[in-house]
């Protein structure tokens, strides 16, 4: 419960198996020993620090909001960092919607009931959507169009619209939304990185969009800052600079396979349907059109990022020993 002091004393993190959740938990436990850290997830992670108080909540359950509210109230939580989002797209559309949209709704209701001071939510610049009519730099105020074929993105777009409406109705809770672009680094692993790790990287024939990356350290720093200090609002977390997709792939020493858009989408359709966890066909639109976000607001708030887009990429490829010299 809100105590009125500026420094939060209890922080709850949901989604301990996601990269941001897990790493943020470790950082908070190590750097803020005076702070009580609560972990909330569906299952207890295998490796969990003893100082973290763990609570088991399944966000897809209909009564999750009541249970969450009780936990937040009992633990006197000041700040909730909500990171429980899938990093891999799932073919189970219903479950995806239950966890990402309705689960976030549960979190919001629980925060309102427990009068939590601050809510920090993970989001992505992918929600702006790759569109031919995007400006070169998307600001935080740009509408979220998402992508009609990528349901994982659509669910999060719905979540953000629910969240922005919720934030208006609950002015006592500061809401911080951090939209990170494709996160790279030695430790992070998701579908984007799997795409870039293919021996031959498919690209859309005739297109070479500008892309941007952000390093995992910069993202974690921003989350830590947002959790510990008051900075309500929406921020893009991106590295400085952009680079053409082909340049990035060539820097990694990969071969580029250029395929016509229709063939590529057809090719991507079957693996995505056969539950291998591959990105949906809509993913390739992200490699076709521009969806670069303007990070100026985030840089002002969280400080200059340590890595530029290109440096983040180089850090990633050198950590994975991708570069082959030919």
């Amino acid at each position: 419960m809100s105590t009125g002091t500026s420094e939060p004393s209890v922080i709850a993190v949901t989604g301990l198996k996601t990269f941001v959740g897990q790493q943020l938990l470790e950082r908070l436990v190590v750097r803020e020993p005076s702070m009580r850290v609560i972990g909330i997830d569906q299952r207890r992670p295998f490796r969990l620090d003893g100082r973290v108080r763990f609570h088991r909540v399944d966000l897809s359950e209909p009564t999750a909001d009541g249970r969450l509210a009780e936990i937040l109230r009992r633990e006197r939580v000041d700040v909730v960092v909500h990171t429980a989002f899938r990093r891999e797209p799932t073919p189970d559309l219903e479950m995806d919607h239950e966890v990402e949209t309705i689960g976030s709704l549960h979190i919001m209701s629980a925060c309102a009931a427990a009068k939590v001071r601050r809510l920090v939510v993970v989001s992505s610049t992918m929600l702006y959507g790759p569109r031919p009519d995007n400006p070169n730099f998307l600001s935080e105020d740009h509408p979220l169009h998402g992508h009609p074929d990528a349901h994982c993105v659509q669910n999060r777009v719905e979540m953000e619209s629910l969240l922005s409406r919720w934030a208006v109705r609950h002015p006592d809770t500061e809401v911080t939304v951090l939209r990170a672009c494709w996160m790279l680094g030695p430790n992070h692993w998701d579908r984007v990185i799997r795409y870039f790790s293919l021996p031959v990287v498919p690209m859309v024939l005739g297109y070479d969009p500008l892309i941007q990356f952000v390093h995992e350290d910069d993202v974690l720093h921003a989350f830590e800052t947002a959790a510990l200090t008051s900075m309500p609002g929406v921020y893009n977390l991106v590295g400085r600079g952009v680079l053409p997709l082909s340049t990035a792939v060539r820097l990694a020493g990969k071969r580029i396979l250029q395929l016509p858009a229709t063939a590529l989408y057809r090719m991507a359709y079957y693996p995505a349907q056969s539950q291998t966890g591959d990105p949906p066909a809509g993913f390739y639109d992200y490699l076709r059109y521009l969806w670069v976000a303007d990070g100026a607001r985030g840089w002002d708030a969280f400080g200059e990022p340590v890595y530029t887009s290109k440096e983040a990429w180089i850090s990633f490829i050198s950590a994975r020993r991708m570069r082959r010299y030919r």
Binding site: P132, V204, L243, I256
Partner: protein, 333 residues
């Protein structure tokens, strides 16, 4: 006829018959030598055929690398935030110079109207399918007024997302035409060349040439007002004859991602070769800037004022074009 009288090559004219016998011998010897050379040469060529020396592995490696970097080998990989690649531009410079000096023989007039430094919003008439006019104008400004900084030209959406065209246009300095991009460029101190006619301008048929279409919804004036930059009218005379569109086809164009398929005297007739622009003579007239300094920043919300200013800008460009057209003697200069 005495064979010895033919010339000095046949030897001394005083030589006798016996000497001729020697000549026969020499000829035979020469024949033998030639045969031997030929056989030796042929045998040598049989031994070392040109394709036997080739290092196939190296060639395949080269070919593979070439294919991997197909269409991308000319790029440095370092681009600015709007995708301009200095290396691509530098390599394209001779081509741009050729087009500028030899092909269209572009002339810039009225360059003294431009502000000596600092950004400005240049507004010109659009013509042709590919943005040659923007590219040439930006190139001319770069050459004549390097201290102005490289002006970036705006391109309509359908062109900037066209496959194969899109990466190159961005590398050469094209930017998608929208308010956000123009604002950002002007804020960062770069001049912007805008074509507010948009697709309507590019789709102008030949009989409508140099008659300006409607100017969007006042976006250029708003942008100039908000960023407090001079608004410079520009009339490009000659570019509208480079791609004389006789009529437009809409049916097959949709599958190609184009708004329409132009029919020029040469284009579908001679295939892609006919898509080359014609070498008309271009004169780029830069007019006096429209004065916006006396206006308050909140004039942006005055719709009537914006539309009046837009119309004034349009009429200024139209008069620049009319004067330019009456001054020139021939399309080909």
């Amino acid at each position: 006829m005495d064979p010895t009288s033919k010339g000095p090559l046949c030897g001394d004219p005083e030589l006798g018959d016996s000497e001729f016998g020697d000549l026969v011998e020499v000829r035979e010897a020469l024949e033998g030598l030639r045969r031997e050379i030929r056989s030796r040469f042929l045998s040598e060529s049989r031994e070392a055929a040109p394709w036997q020396d080739v290092d196939w592995q190296a060639l395949f490696g080269k070919l593979r690398r070439r294919m991997n970097t197909f269409g991308m080998s000319e790029r440095s990989g370092e681009v600015d935030e709007f995708g301009l690649d200095e290396v691509v531009l530098k390599r394209a410079l001779p081509m741009l110079d050729l087009l500028y000096d030899r092909y269209w023989r572009v002339e810039l007039s009225g360059i003294e109207h431009l502000p000596p430094r600092g950004p400005c919003l240049l507004v010109a008439n659009r013509s042709g399918i590919l943005p040659y006019d923007g590219m040439m104008f930006a190139h001319g400004l770069q050459r004549r007024l390097p201290e102005l900084g490289r002006a970036r030209f705006l391109i309509a959406d359908w062109l900037i997302t066209l496959p194969f065209v899109q990466p190159y246009l961005a590398r050469l300095g094209g930017v998608r035409a929208c308010r956000e991009n123009a604002d950002r460029l002007l804020r960062h101190g770069r001049s912007v060349i805008a074509f507010p006619e948009g697709v309507k301008g590019a789709a102008k048929v030949f009989r409508d040439r140099y008659r300006l279409k409607r100017f969007g919804r006042g976006g250029v004036v708003r942008t100039a007002l908000e960023n407090r930059v001079p608004l410079v009218p520009v009339g490009i005379v000659g570019a509208e004859e480079a791609h004389p569109i006789l009529f437009k086809i809409h049916g097959p164009a949709r599958s190609l991602g184009l708004p329409f398929l132009p029919v020029t005297p040469t284009f579908p007739l001679f295939g892609l070769f006919g898509a080359l622009p014609l070498p008309s003579k271009w004169v780029i007239h830069i007019g006096e800037p429209l004065s916006l300094e006396h206006l308050e920043p909140d004039a942006v919300d005055d719709e009537l004022l914006i539309s009046r200013l837009t119309e004034e800008l349009r009429s200024r460009i139209q008069s620049l074009l009319d004067v330019g057209l009456s001054d020139r003697e021939s399309v080909w200069g």
